[in-house]
């Protein structure tokens, strides 16, 4: 394949070349264990500390509030585990119907163990009803876990407002910010979020490194028990090259944050507007007012998502779909179903997610190819727009 137009950055991102360069010495020459007593390990420990500071700085946290994990899923599981273990008398969890499986399936696990779980619904634009949240929190609620931004639609939840509500009711608030960190500003100094998860590979660091932010003073119990690493909050020898890589990625993300919200957003809007102008019978999924700057989730009526993806792939264009056929399950994405997307549209959803590496000519290329693909599939389809 000669040409690859990568528009699936909510799935994973290219590791930034600067990050790779920063990591390489720590695989070969500088392989020491940071816990060791000699200089050879000590120099690695120093570099680790720098990385921790950079990661903390990206979200306005203190370095001691950062715990490195193996991935976003581990961070999410740990956050919920910690709250349930710290407050064993509280046996109620609140989350939403549109969470990532890392939270949703973990809550279902606890539900099977006998905990009560409330799954908050969303409206047709993917928004939450905060009044309903207020009603549902009781003195038995151990933790409220609500994502910062949705991976499929990019819809942003008002987590700072939610954090205030949860705090006023005396519960712990966790947010899965995997899709948000590096794309929108987050400042832990000016909010009441207790626990926050994110992942390296969504912000141009490699796969296999995650972060759990734990606010100072919040009760905590580790999920992975072992050595004294991460101040006894996560056992296991530090993944030094990856942590150092994430440090660099965090530094870059901070510098690129304004570009995400100007140039990347401009390209996303150009793609969206271009599709609206060129292709009839489409629907933008999710709240366009509160949405990640890089994400576009769009449905094409009367055609099916996997077929669109296969034809895009033949043109070298990478995207993803919430259609049933792409996942191996037989039902479309739980997010789109929760939003009550109309049946004419729900099987034909495509998510384009951009990054700092996306070029304008790539967007032009997609706008050139996509109408031909949709038109071809509509010619094959027995369904047509009713006049």
């Amino acid at each position: 394949m000669d040409r690859v137009v990568y528009l699936d950055n909510n799935a994973t991102t290219q590791v930034a070349p600067e990050v790779v360069e920063e990591m390489l010495p720590y695989f070969s020459k500088l392989y020491g264990n940071p816990s060791s007593m000699y200089q050879f390990g000590g120099s690695v420990a120093k570099k680790l500390k720098e990385a921790r500071c950079k990661v903390a700085e990206l979200i306005g946290a203190e370095p001691e509030e950062i715990v490195f994990t193996s991935c976003g899923t581990e961070s999410d599981n740990t956050a919920i585990w910690a709250a349930l273990q710290s407050y064993p008398e509280k046996r109620h969890i609140i989350t939403t119907k549109v969470e990532h499986p890392a939270v949703l399936n973990y809550c279902k696990f606890w539900e099977n163990q006998g905990w009560q779980v409330t799954y908050l619904p969303v409206d047709e634009l993917g928004r939450l009803d905060l009044e309903l949240l207020k009603e549902k929190i009781t003195s038995a609620t151990a933790i409220v876990s609500i994502m910062t931004a949705n991976n499929e639609t990019g819809v942003i939840f008002p987590v700072e407002k939610i954090a205030e509500i949860v705090k006023s009711k005396g519960s712990i608030f966790h947010t899965d910010a995997v899709q948000a960190v590096g794309k929108i500003p987050i400042d832990m100094k000016h909010n009441h979020i207790d626990l926050l998860s994110f992942s390296g590979h969504k912000l141009h660091a490699p796969k296999g490194i995650g972060v759990l932010y734990i606010r100072k003073g919040v009760k905590f119990q580790p999920l992975i028990i072992g050595g004294h690493q991460e101040q006894n909050r996560r056992g296991g020898t530090e993944n030094t090259p990856y942590i150092i890589g994430l440090g660099k990625a965090a530094e870059l993300a901070k510098n690129y944050l304004s570009e995400e919200n100007t140039r990347v957003k401009f390209l996303r809007d150009k793609l969206e507007q271009g599709i609206i102008e060129r292709i009839p019978h489409i629907k933008i999924n999710g709240d366009r007012e509160a949405r990640l700057p890089n994400t576009l989730n769009i449905s094409f009526a009367y055609v099916e998502g996997e077929a669109i993806l296969l034809l895009l792939d033949r043109e070298g264009i990478c995207a993803s779909s919430g259609s049933a056929c792409t996942s191996g399950s037989l039902e479309p994405s739980h997010v789109l179903r929760s939003m009550g997307i109309n049946y004419n549209y729900i099987h034909g959803s495509i998510r384009f997610s951009l990054s700092r590496y996306t070029k304008e000519e790539e967007i032009d290329y997609v706008l050139d190819r996509l109408p031909v693909i949709i038109n071809h599939l509509r010619n094959l389809s027995p369904y047509k727009a009713q006049e």
């Binding site: 077929a307 056929c325 099987h347 010619n379 094959l380 027995p382």
Partner: protein, 274 residues
């Protein structure tokens, strides 16, 4: 990503015989936009022969490919010949489909049967067996039983792959288990008696070539059919399989299971004595 055969991709990228057929003799329509796939098959029939066939499909790559190849398979065939075509024939023509996509081939068969039934003017009385088992995907008991028999299915998961039933809310899974159990009890030795010894040996060989050897070859091994003696299937292991500590398990859990599934539940796999 799905592993589609060259043939599936060819028929998806270059679908044959699609679009409206003007003045069709008969039409078969199955599926719905709510379920995620649908096929409208249009036929022109003259003097008992399918002179032309066209399709319109809403669905994924393998649904479109199944529809496309079906139109090629039935063109020029008599009604009687076309009636014999099953989803297995579609899968074979396509050079295989991923397990999870088998329902696409079943959709092709159903549309064809629907069209031919309409042609013959058969309106079968609605009986108990038309009862909908899977509410999510509107799958009837008749369809489930037919597909189990035709494809020798042995698990509920396979029923879902072939018919979609049970793939939504999952509430009908206990009922699927019950139907499967009934069908398995009915199966053989009655079915078996219909097979001659030669047919049985050929089917064993075909199953080993199609279902077993490619999987072993992927791991650097292989297997050869040496002889069939009654219900004893004598094989010899080749390649990496010879020294593989789990070869015995492979024979029991994999080779024998496949032969039970595709040929007869009474077969026993035995390794050739050196």
């Amino acid at each position: 990503m799905w592993e589609y055969s060259e043939k599936v991709l060819d028929h998806f990228y270059n679908p044959r015989n699609y679009g409206e057929l003007p003045n069709p003799t008969v039409v078969g329509e199955v599926g719905s936009i709510i379920c995620g796939d649908a096929l409208k098959l249009m036929l022109k029939i003259e003097n008992g022969i399918i002179e032309d066939a066209r399709f319109q499909t809403f669905g994924c790559g393998s649904a479109i490919a199944s529809s496309s190849i079906l139109t090629e398979m039935i063109k020029g065939k008599t009604i009687e010949e076309a009636e014999k075509i099953t989803n297995k024939d579609i899968v074979k023509e396509l050079g295989g489909l991923p397990q999870e996509k088998m329902h696409c081939s079943v959709m092709g068969m159903e549309a064809l049967q629907e069209a031919l039934k309409n042609y013959r003017g058969k309106r079968e009385p609605i009986s108990e067996i038309e009862k909908i088992i899977c509410e999510c995907f509107q799958v009837s008991e008749r369809k489930i039983r037919d597909v189990i028999r035709e494809n020798h299915l042995t698990t509920v998961e396979e029923i879902t792959h072939y018919t979609k039933a049970g793939g939504g809310c999952g509430r009908c899974i206990p009922e699927l288990e019950k139907i499967l159990k009934e069908e398995l009890a009915k199966r053989s030795p009655k079915d078996e008696k219909k097979m001659t010894t030669l047919q049985k040996i050929l089917l064993i060989k075909d199953t080993i070539d199609r279902e077993v050897r490619p999987a072993l070859q992927r791991d650097g091994g292989d297997l050869e059919l040496i002889d069939v003696d009654g219900n004893k299937v004598i094989v010899s292991l080749r390649g990496f399989c010879i020294n593989c500590p789990s070869a015995k398990l492979t024979l029991k859990n994999f080779v024998e299971k496949k032969l039970h599934e595709f040929v007869s539940p009474y077969l026993e796999v035995i390794e050739e004595r050196k």
